[in-house]
């Protein structure tokens, strides 16, 4: 490549400075629209929400200042505390289950399976459905009187009971089931793609050393898929926050408010109950929690990338 480097310098000296200047600004110009759109659409709006969380806004925004009043109200609100706990349970279980199932299915599918394409499509298609559709169908399937329980009773096993959907303590797990059903196929696809990109030479070498297949997976392949884990967790977290549609369709936050999530709480308070100040405070806490978890993760992953 060296001989190429030496020639152009002689040819393109004069106009290159102007072009160089342009070239320097062009990339920034190109990302400028996105910068503006996201700057306003995400950050300016978040700031506005933050401002509102310190006001007593009810129906529509009102710009008085009440300090940390709204946040104090939140801490005393049993429904908010339930919703926050639910997010932890739901988010944690959802991400973990999707990762485990996705990785497992990907590993199995990678074993030169016949009809792999068809099976892959079957795992992947739930992602195509809107969460409203998923919630509606699963609400029906898990309904004790109409769905699974009735089906099993009809088949003769009458002592079978699966009433999680209507049980205050267990209902949140039904949301996990529906969400995992929807998203695990996608995680499988991500990992399958990642596995396909692993250098076979490394595996062969390990095999020759006498390592068993599960060990190879555990110690060599999976660690090399860190970027895939990163993408998967990004996508899954995004879905976890967006699970508003799913909860609304499946349980509407019930029984009582045992399946409430912060996004639902925020929506109900800001729009239905005309409590924008309280809703904004809940939104800021929601975002804060994600910041606290994701920023360190993002930081560590991106830093690694630069050093690769």
């Amino acid at each position: 490549m060296e001989h190429i480097q030496r020639h152009p310098a002689r040819v393109a000296r004069a106009p290159s400075r102007l072009l160089d200047g342009l070239q320097r600004w062009l990339p920034k110009l190109v990302v400028a629209p996105t910068f503006v759109l996201v700057g306003i659409g995400v950050y300016a709006f978040m700031l506005w929400t933050g401002v509102l969380s310190f006001t007593s806004s009810s129906f529509l925004p009102v710009y008085d200042f009440v300090g940390l009043d709204q946040y104090a109200k939140l801490m005393n609100n049993d429904r908010w505390l339930t919703a926050s706990a639910n997010l932890g349970i739901f988010g944690g279980l959802f991400i973990l289950s999707c990762l485990v199932i996705g990785v497992l299915l990907a590993i199995f599918l990678d074993q030169k399976i016949r009809q792999e394409g068809a099976i892959r499509t079957i795992y992947l298609y739930p992602m195509a459905l809107s969460m409203i559709v998923t919630g509606t169908v699963w609400k029906w399937i898990l309904n004790p009187g109409l769905g699974l329980e009735k089906l099993v009773h009809d088949w003769g096993w009458t002592s079978f009971s699966f009433d999680w959907l209507v049980n205050s303590d267990m209902a949140i797990y039904t949301i996990v089931i529906a969400a995992v059903w929807q998203a695990s196929g996608f995680v499988m696809a991500l990992f399958l793609a990642g596995l396909r990109g692993v250098d076979p030479a490394i595996i062969r070498a390990a095999r020759v050393d006498g390592a068993s297949l599960p060990l190879i997976y555990r110690k060599i392949i999976l660690p090399s898929l860190r970027p895939v884990f990163f993408s998967a967790i990004m996508v899954l977290s995004h879905i976890a926050i967006k699970s508003f549609d799913l909860v609304m369709a499946m349980t509407a936050g019930g029984p009582g408010y045992s399946t409430d999530l912060p996004a639902v709480f925020m929506y109900a308070n800001t729009f239905t109950r005309g409590q924008m100040g309280l809703g904004s405070a809940s939104a800021m806490l929601m975002l804060g929690a994600f910041l606290a978890l994701l920023v360190p993760y993002l930081y560590s992953e991106l830093r690694e990338k630069r050093h690769d």
Binding site: K139, N143, D163, V166, P255, S258, A268, F271, R273, G274
Partner: protein, 419 residues
């Protein structure tokens, strides 16, 4: 010049051919959540009547949750400076919107049509802000009804219960016979509807108003409220285990089929019985919820009218308000929806037995003081207070170990936080 003459001639001809009323024809964009067959047909009647007057109806339907999604959309539309002409807003929210300056003044239509004479003051007050009409009531629902399947009661040789104790006795007999005593759907607003009926029975109209309309803490945080919760827990014990999340009309279906004997629900339940081809008084019975005879808990659907800029549309909007309270529409709509007209001068002969009972109760309670706004349906408080009450009530209804004393404290704290 020839061309100009021809153009002018064409213009003159065209305007001569236009219907005269066109100059005043406007468009009304109406936000509502009546999307099911029966309701949609009732609303379609309004659309037709508007179109007969030469106006266009722009439908803006957003279903879900009794208006939650619709309210969200309305707020965003208002914030973006583009509200619809009319929106299905009810209760104290009307005053909130008026306070923010969004609603228009309907006093001219009210005077022409004599609204103050036709609408009971308790209801007219909800439609006004600072003495001016800003909204039009569409109907009056009574919330504290008990719907009964007479065959189911006959099976256990029981009469329609008129007090809570009678209710419990009848319910025990039904349970022993394998019939679900009370059909119910486990959604917050339904829980609140039953709670309201029990509160009316235990507290009576006056204390109910003091607690839920005036938010008097002495009544809220009292032994009587504890008793209300205790009785509520007992009533809920007669609901089947699969009630969570069930829609109210599915519960009514259970009564129709005879799987359950009774349901405490507002008079929109009548629509379900009618759709199933049943006759009031024969195939199904309506009675005041146990212990609430002489009390009429009202829920009024209404359209709030927003300020508009376009003059034609303003005219259309006023016609809309007028049409809604016209006898013809009131008859058509309320028959389809199961409610009673807001106009107190209607001839009720063509309505069914339950509607006639309802209208009689409406008029008499208006005079006796038993006409109270429904807390479960947003007529008694702001949506914030209502939401807080819902949270406490539904949590109580769904808990395994309901504690009336604790619930009373929670209720007091919740309402206090929202005031």
């Amino acid at each position: 010049m020839n061309r100009m003459t021809r153009t002018l001639g064409a213009l003159a001809l065209t305007s001569a051919l236009l219907p005269v009323g066109n100059a005043q024809a406007g468009e009304v964009e109406v936000l509502h959540w009546w999307t099911s067959g029966g309701e949609a047909r009732a609303a379609a009647a309004l659309k037709e009547m508007m179109e007969e007057q030469g106006h266009t109806w722009k439908d803006f339907a957003v279903a879900g949750g009794g208006g939650e999604a619709a309210m969200t959309v309305l707020k965003t539309r208002a914030v973006s400076g583009n509200p619809p002409a009319a929106a299905q807003i009810k209760g104290l929210d009307i005053q909130e919107w008026a306070k923010l300056g969004f609603l228009t003044n309907l006093d001219d239509v009210a005077q022409q049509e004599n609204w103050d004479q036709l609408i009971p003051p308790r209801i007219a007050d909800v439609m006004k802000y600072e003495g001016h009409y800003v909204a039009v009531p569409v109907n009056v629902h009574r919330v504290n009804w008990l719907w009964v399947n007479p065959e189911a009661l006959a099976k256990v040789d029981a009469k329609v219960p008129t007090t809570l104790d009678e209710f419990f006795a009848t319910a025990d007999k039904l349970k022993a016979a394998g019939i679900i005593p009370l059909a119910h759907g486990g959604q917050p607003w339904q829980d609140a509807t039953v709670f309201e009926a029990v509160a009316l029975a235990v507290l009576g109209a006056e204390d109910y108003s003091r607690a839920f309309v005036d938010n008097d803490m002495d009544v809220i945080n009292s032994p009587k409220m504890e008793e209300t919760f205790a009785q509520f827990a007992k009533v809920m014990s007669y609901v089947d285990d699969n009630a969570a999340g069930r829609d109210w009309n599915t519960a009514t279906g259970m009564v129709i089929k005879g799987e359950a004997a009774m349901q405490i629900m507002g008079d929109w339940a009548k629509g379900e019985f009618t759709a199933a081809g049943l006759t009031a008084g024969k195939d199904y019975l309506c009675a005041p919820a146990p212990g609430t005879a002489g009390i009429f808990s009202f829920n009024v659907d209404s359209f709030a009218m927003f300020k508009l800029n376009n003059e034609d549309n303003v005219k259309a909007q006023k016609d809309l308000a007028r049409t809604i309270l016209s006898p013809k529409f009131q008859a058509v709509f309320n028959k389809a929806k199961g409610s009673i007209p807001v106009r107190t001068d209607m001839d009720m002969a063509s309505f069914d037995a339950c509607a006639q009972d309802s209208m009689d109760a409406f008029k008499s309670t208006a005079k006796s003081g038993g006409l109270v706004p429904s807390v479960a349906h947003g007529l008694a408080n702001t949506s914030y207070v209502q939401g807080q009450i819902f949270d406490v009530v539904t949590n109580f209804a769904n808990s395994d170990n309901p504690d009336p004393a604790e619930a009373t404290n929670q209720l007091a704290a919740a309402i206090q936080a929202a005031l």
